[in-house]
């Protein structure tokens, strides 16, 4: 963060149509190195669709998504497959948790290492020294990540047996295993109690510094968003309606009307 902050992700004019419905209408968003950016807005504003476009699950109708990994390269990633985008260094979690339920907690994280390891089918069958070392490293790295999110004790448990909050943390560990430079969290605090949310806040902050990555998160818990974000982008009905620091957003009349006003009316 010392020198001029590099742009890691530059989204401009992103538009996504489903049939006749415009889910996202010309939205732009930048993320710089080391930043935590929050994407907020009422339900159905198009936040998750935005995530899905950026991570390659949907191919956007129009617009540009350009990423610039820390190695200095830069690339337009529209229409790339999700796995290719993850390999380039963006990883995500899911709003409706998508773990591998019948695999153990440790194995879930080990899947994240898949795109950073190389052993082929033949390597595995032969079982040479390099393959065995790679496997050891995968276990060790995954284990360290589990320690980081506080799940090391449950490494051998099936993922489906974890509590809700633990499942969300496991998703974060799994995403981190892919060594991203940008982490996208889709409602990481959903379904957590206040205590768990506080711990999550600390975890996100720690991840940012330890792993030197930027974070884009969708979240409805305003306290969490205001505490942790460097910048906030607000969406409503598929359009970006505001952008700024937490303080600016708090005082933005448009946001108050569209977003916070929703609560006042309710």
């Amino acid at each position: 963060m010392a020198n001029e902050r590099r742009k890691l992700l530059e989204v401009s004019g992103l538009t996504m149509d489903f049939g006749g419905l415009r889910a996202i209408d010309s939205v732009g968003l930048d993320i710089h190195a080391g930043e935590i950016v929050a994407l907020i807005g009422p339900n159905g504003a198009g936040k998750t669709t935005f995530f899905n476009c950026v991570t390659g699950i949907y191919t956007p109708t129009a617009g540009d998504i350009v990423i610039a990994p820390p190695d200095g390269s830069s690339r337009r990633i529209n229409g790339l497959k999700p796995n290719a985008i993850t390999s380039l260094g963006m990883a995500r979690t899911f709003q409706n948790i998508r773990l591998f339920p019948a695999m153990t907690v440790l194995e879930n994280v080990m899947i994240g290492r898949h795109c950073r390891t190389r052993s082929s089918i033949l390597d595995v069958i032969v079982g040479g020294a390099r393959t065995r070392r790679e496997e050891r490293e995968t276990v060790a790295t995954s284990y360290r990540l589990l320690e980081k999110v506080g799940l090391a004790d449950l490494a051998g448990e099936y993922a489906r047996n974890l509590s809700y909050g633990a499942q969300r943390r496991l998703e974060i560990a799994r995403a981190l295993a892919t060594e991203p430079f940008l982490l996208l969290l889709d409602e990481p605090a959903a379904g957590m109690n206040p205590q768990e949310t506080l711990e999550l806040e600390a975890l996100i902050a720690r991840i940012r510094t330890d792993n030197e990555l930027a974070i884009l998160l969708i979240e409805h818990d305003m306290k969490l968003v205001m505490n942790i974000s460097d910048r906030i982008t607000v969406m409503e009905y598929g359009k970006k309606i505001a952008e700024g620091t937490p303080r600016e957003i708090k005082e933005n009349p448009k946001v108050i009307e569209a977003y916070l006003g929703e609560e006042a009316h309710a």
Partner: protein, 416 residues
């Protein structure tokens, strides 16, 4: 009491339901109707008894679900012997040695120079063990429901038969060739269809299986048509052709070695980067792709590898029988291999082996059972899905030990 009444009602319902088919038989040769009234009584009694058991089991299943929800970390799980076996490495090793020894001495104990029927039966059963293990990769590990698996078996068998017939190639050259040709088929077919959703994929593979059989049946000039190909050479032993019992014993050892190699390789794959990706794919395709796994490649590798094994063992099948025709490669054969995987527990190697041996040997030695074999298979597939979807042997996940000695250079502060 309500159970009893309900069971009685269900018994009556099935008496009604099965009445025309089970009681009446129209004899179109003598133009008379045969009435088989005794069947009604049987059906009623059996249906009522089964219904009673059914209700009991469904309630138990519901109770188990409730218990699992209340306590996600059951302390004392009931373990079957087989599960304990796969949990304890020392015990596993000892059991493996004993099983291996038994398998090795089997042909000598059970046969004489005149009578080696048991060896031949066992060879057929072991062929299906390999088939089951191969399909286990595709269905059990990667979750790709392949209903035309037997077609790859046919490709292997016909590859050997045709290469032997036209080019006089021997068994040992054809063995890998059969596997490779079959894998090539898998790759070519798999490429366009693996994008399909699970249930569509099942139907398309079923289509491929059926097309293969129809082509084999009708293209007389190339594949011998419905009559098939006869006079296929048995495996040669360093250029020699063995006779009688020795030949059977030799084939037996070949299949046994193939089984051992398959177990070894599949175990390695399962506990590796590749195997984990297959299982993740089975669990959740979208999450799997989002975690950086190349879905197309992973699916294709599972599909083609499964095909490879079927092709390999197809060569052995042709060599063992010395005669093949399309009747050995019907949908029912695909279904039987699938039943082995389902019954054994998707993904569980030991389970598939036990299931394959049971399903193949039981009809052979219990002739009375043979007639009802497919009927029982069908019922078992339904019942397994309802009451024990994890199969006879639950696929226990491997516990990964963190090797601290090797990891000393790493350490915690070196974390990424």
């Amino acid at each position: 009491m309500t159970h009893f009444k309900k069971s009685l009602g269900i018994g009556l319902w099935f008496m009604f339901l099965t009445f025309p088919l089970m009681v009446v038989r129209v004899n179109t040769i003598d133009n008379v109707i045969e009435w088989r009234w005794s069947n009604v009584v049987w059906v009623g009694a059996c249906a009522a008894a089964i219904a009673w058991l059914w209700q009991f089991s469904i309630e138990r299943r519901a109770a188990r679900h409730a218990a699992a929800l209340a306590d996600p970390h059951p302390q004392a799980k009931r373990h079957t012997l087989a599960q304990r076996l796969s949990d304890d490495p020392a015990l596993t090793r000892r059991a493996l040695i004993v099983a291996g020894l038994l398998a090795v001495v089997f042909p000598w104990v059970t046969s004489t120079t005149q009578n080696f029927y048991h060896i031949n039966v066992m060879v057929s059963a072991l062929i299906f063990v390999v088939l089951g293990l191969g399909l286990n990769i595709t269905v059990g590990l990667a979750g790709l429901l392949d209903l035309g698996y037997i077609a790859f078996f046919a490709v292997g068998a016909y590859t050997y038969a045709l290469l032997g017939q036209h080019l006089a190639l021997g068994f040992w050259i054809c063995l890998p060739l059969g596997g490779l040709v079959s894998m090539l088929f898998g790759l070519v077919l798999g490429f366009p269809i693996l994008r399909l959703r699970g249930d569509y994929l099942a139907i398309v593979t079923l289509g491929f299986g059926s097309i293969t059989k129809i082509i084999l049946e009708n293209w007389d000039t190339a594949f011998g048509g419905a009559a098939g190909i006869a006079g296929i050479a048995r495996p040669e032993f360093f250029g020699m052709t063995l006779e009688g019992r020795m030949q059977s014993v030799y084939t037996y050892y070949i299949v046994l070695a193939l089984v051992a190699a398959t177990i070894f390789i599949v175990t390695r794959l399962k506990n590796s980067r590749i195997g984990r990706a297959w299982m993740a794919l089975r669990e959740d395709e979208i999450a799997c792709e989002a975690m950086g796994v190349d879905m197309a490649r992973t699916k294709l590798s599972a599909y083609a590898l499964g095909a490879f094994w079927a092709g390999l063992v197809g060569v052995v099948f042709a060599a063992h029988n010395t005669f093949i025709n399309p009747d050995s490669f019907t949908f029912m054969d695909s279904a039987m291999v699938l039943a082995m995987v389902v019954l054994g527990g998707m993904g569980s190697i030991l389970g598939v082996i036990i299931a394959a041996l049971t399903l193949k040997l039981l009809p052979e030695y219990l002739r009375a059972f043979a007639e009802y074999r497919m009927l029982v298979f069908g019922a078992v597939m339904v019942l397994m899905m309802i009451f024990r979807p994890q199969g006879l042997i639950n696929d226990m996940r491997r516990k990964y030990e963190l090797d601290t000695a090797d990891d000393a250079d790493g350490g915690d502060d070196n974390g990424k």
